[in-house]
Symmetry: C2
Subunit: 400 residues, 2 copies
C-alpha cells in the first residue's frame, strides 16, 4: 500500500469541481461536485444526532438502492433545523445536479455544512450548478475539497493504492472538519472513491468498520453533529467483485481504513486553534471497549487538553480522566509514558527527572501518550488536539 | 426559611479557623478546621471517580460509625495519587487534629484540594495544627472558607434558618470549587453544619437528595474529581430527633437543599474565567431523567458555552446539544426561550426580531434559558457558566 496524489479524483472515472456560488459571505469556494462517469455502488454512515439535517434524510432515501453517481455539497450553510423547506431545498440541489449531469435524481447525494437554522440561498445554488458541472475535471479533487471547508485551515484530501488479489486498486477521498473539544458538534464530511468492485453489503460493512477505527476515534460515538456523514462510491472498474469476507475483502478494507484514518488525523490536527497533535494509545485494558472508553475520556478532557496547550506534564489530570472513564482500573497497575519516557510506573510517579524529560517532549508539536493497564489485551488509539486560546476566540465569534 | 450570616459557624456549637501553614507557594490561608464542641451525627457523599484520594478513603472508614467532631482540610495539595504514603499522611493530619482537640482520631474527617500527585508537606501541616486549633472561633467560618480555596475567586459560605416542627433550626456551610467545563475535574468540597437532631440514616438520605438536586446539577453524575466530597455534621441541639420521613424531615431537607443549592450556584458562578451565569430549565420532557440528560448536554457543550461568551443567540448549537442528549425529542414540538422571549416555537425559528431581543438579553450577566418539549411532565434545572478566554489561560497555567 502506498500513498499517491490526486485525492478523490486519483481514482479513474471520477471527476470533481468546486466554485463560489455566493453562499459564503466572503468570496471563497462554497459549492462542490463529485461525479462518477458510471453508476457506483454506494455506502454511507450518518450522524447519530437525533436531529439529522434534511440532506441526510434525502441521502438515506437515495441510499436504499445502494447506487449513485454524484455528490453535491455546499459550505456556508448547514441546511439544519430548516424543516420541510430544508428538505425541499436539499431535493432542489439534487435535482439541479441531476439535470446538469443528465442522471436520475436518485443518483445524487447532498451534503451541507455551515450555519445552522437558516434556509439555503437555493436559487444561488441551483443557478450555479451548470457552471459547477461544466468545470468538473479529473484533477478537481483539490477544488472540491476547498469548497467544503468552513473553519478548516487546510484542505483535506488523500489517496492510496494497494493490492487486491492480483490487481491494484485505489481509494481516494476528501474531507472537511476541524476537531473540537466535544467533537460532536463539528460537522464532519468525508467522501471516498474507489475502483474496487465489491458487493453493496460488503462495502457498507467495510466502511462502517473503517469509520469506527478512524473518524469515531476522534469523534465520540453516537454524539455527532446534525450533518456528519461519510459516503463511499465504488465504481467497480478493478478486480473481481468481492463477494465474501476473504483475503480481497481484507485487503480492500485495509486500504479504505488507511484513507479514512489519514483524513481523520487531518481533521483532529486541524483542531480549531490547535497547537498540538496528540496520539493516545491504551494497551493492557480488560477489553477493547474498556480501552476505548479510557482513551476517549482522556481525549475529551478539557483539563488534559489545556495542560497540553500549557506544555505541562500534568499526569494527575490524565490519571483523573482515566478514573472517570467508568471502567474498573487498578491505579497501582498502570504505566503512563510520553514517547519512551515512563512518567508513572505501576502507579508510582517516577520523579522530577522523568517529568523534566516529558516537559521537553511536550514542547514538540506531536505528543505520544501511552497508558498500559496490565489487566488484559484490550487496546485502543484515539487522536486529539490541545485546547488553546484560539479555540475560544474562533468559537465565540463564529456562528456555526 | 431565611438566609442569615455566619456560614458554617452560624450554627451554635461550631467553631472554625483558617491559617497559612506553608502548603501553598504564596502566603494565602491553606489549612482549615471545623470543630463541634459535641459529638455530631455525620453524613457524607463522596466522588464517583475510580481513584478516590487517600483522605476520602480515611473518611469512609471514619464514617462507618456516622459520628464525628472535626474536619481538617488543606488547599494547595490534593494528596491524590499518592498511594500508601498519601493514606499515612491523611491519617497524620487526622491524628494531629485529634491530639490538638483531645478527641478520638475516628472523630476527625480530612479533606485536601490542590495539586495532584505530590506528597503533602506533612510536617508543615502537623506543626501548624496546634496554632490552627487555638485560633478556632465561633466567627471563624470565613477564615475556614478562605483556607480551602484554590482557583476560587471568592469565598463561599451560606447559612439558613427555618422552621422544623415547633422549633427553628439552622444549616450553615462553606464550599470551594470553581465550575469548569467538564466539572468532573474541579475538586468540589462542601462542609455543612446543623443543629437539627436527626437519625444518621435519615441525615444521609437528606444529604444525598440535596446533593443530587444541587451539586450534581452543576457537576456530572458519576463523573467527578478524585477528591470531591460533601460532609454534613448535625449536633442535635434543636428539635426532637427526626425518626421518620414526616413533616419535620421534609422541613429539614428543604433547608439543607437550600444551603447546598446556594453553595452550588456560587461554585458554578465562580466558573474559571466565567463572565455569564446561565440557568437552564427543561420542562415537558418524557421524564425527569430525560430532562436531566438534556439539561446536562446543553450545560456541558463547549460550543454552547463559547457562544454565551460571545453573546451570540446561537440556538442551533443549543438544539444540536439537545439532539445529542441521547433521549428521544420531537424537533417540531420544542419551544426554546431566553427569559420571556420565545426564539424557537414548536420547532420553528421565530425570526430576526426575536433574535435581536435575545441578543440584548445575552449581554446581561445572568442568562435564563428555557426549553419546553411537550412530551410529558419531566423537568430539570442545571446551572452553567460560559467558556471564556480566561478559562484556557487559567487551566494552561495552573497545575491542579
Amino acid at each position: 500500500m502506498k500513498q499517491i496524489d490526486g485525492g478523490i479524483t486519483a481514482v479513474e472515472g471520477f471527476a470533481a469541481a468546486g466554485i463560489f456560488a455566493g453562499i459564503k459571505k466572503v468570496e471563497k469556494p462554497d459549492l462542490a461536485l463529485i461525479f462518477s462517469d458510471t453508476v457506483c455502488t454506494v455506502a454511507g454512515v450518518f450522524t447519530q444526532n437525533r436531529f439529522p439535517a434534511p440532506p441526510l434524510l434525502l441521502n438515506q432515501k437515495h441510499l436504499r438502492k445502494r447506487k449513485g453517481q454524484a455528490i453535491i455539497a455546499n459550505s456556508g450553510n448547514a441546511n439544519a433545523f430548516t424543516g420541510k423547506q430544508g428538505y425541499r431545498d436539499a431535493e432542489a440541489m439534487a435535482e439541479a445536479a441531476a439535470r446538469a449531469l443528465t442522471i436520475p435524481i436518485e443518483s445524487v447525494y447532498v451534503a451541507s455544512t455551515g450555519v445552522i437554522g437558516e434556509f439555503l440561498p437555493i436559487e444561488k445554488i441551483t443557478g450555479a450548478v451548470p457552471r459547477l458541472a461544466s468545470q468538473r475535471s479529473q484533477s478537481g479533487s483539490r477544488a472540491a475539497a476547498e469548497a467544503i471547508m468552513t473553519t478548516d485551515t487546510f484542505l483535506k484530501e488523500v489517496a492510496f493504492v494497494g493490492p487486491m488479489g492480483r490487481q491494484e486498486v485505489k481509494v481516494g477521498g476528501i474531507a472537511k472538519g476541524s476537531g473540537m473539544i466535544h467533537p460532536n458538534m463539528a460537522t464532519m464530511l468525508a467522501f471516498l472513491s474507489t475502483d474496487a468492485a465489491i458487493q453493496p453489503r460488503l462495502l457498507q460493512d467495510a466502511l462502517r468498520q473503517a469509520v469506527d477505527r478512524s473518524f469515531n476515534c476522534i469523534t465520540v460515538d453516537g454524539d455527532t453533529s446534525t450533518n456528519d456523514m461519510v459516503l463511499c462510491f465504488a465504481n467497480g472498474r478493478r478486480g473481481r467483485e468481492i463477494r465474501s469476507k476473504g483475503p480481497s475483502y481484507h485487503q480492500f478494507s485495509a486500504l479504505l481504513e488507511a484513507a479514512c484514518l489519514a483524513l481523520a488525523k487531518m481533521i483532529v490536527w486541524d483542531g480549531e486553534g490547535a497547537t498540538k497533535r496528540v496520539e493516545i494509545n491504551i494497551t493492557g485494558a480488560q477489553s477493547d471497549r474498556a480501552a476505548r472508553r479510557i482513551a476517549e475520556s482522556i481525549a475529551r478532557s478539557n483539563l488534559v487538553k489545556t495542560a497540553f496547550f500549557g506544555q505541562d506534564a500534568n499526569w494527575g489530570r490524565i490519571v483523573a480522566a482515566i478514573g472517570n472513564a467508568g471502567v474498573p482500573v487498578d491505579p497501582e497497575r498502570m504505566d503512563l509514558s510520553f514517547g519512551p519516557v515512563l512518567l508513572v510506573g505501576k502507579g508510582a510517579y517516577q520523579g522530577k527527572e522523568a517529568e523534566s524529560k516529558v516537559a521537553a517532549l511536550l514542547r514538540q508539536r506531536e505528543i505520544d501518550l501511552r497508558v498500559h493497564l496490565y489487566s488484559g489485551r484490550g487496546k485502543a488509539t484515539f487522536w486529539t488536539s490541545d485546547l488553546s486560546l484560539d479555540y475560544v476566540k474562533i468559537n465565540a465569534a463564529y456562528r456555526s
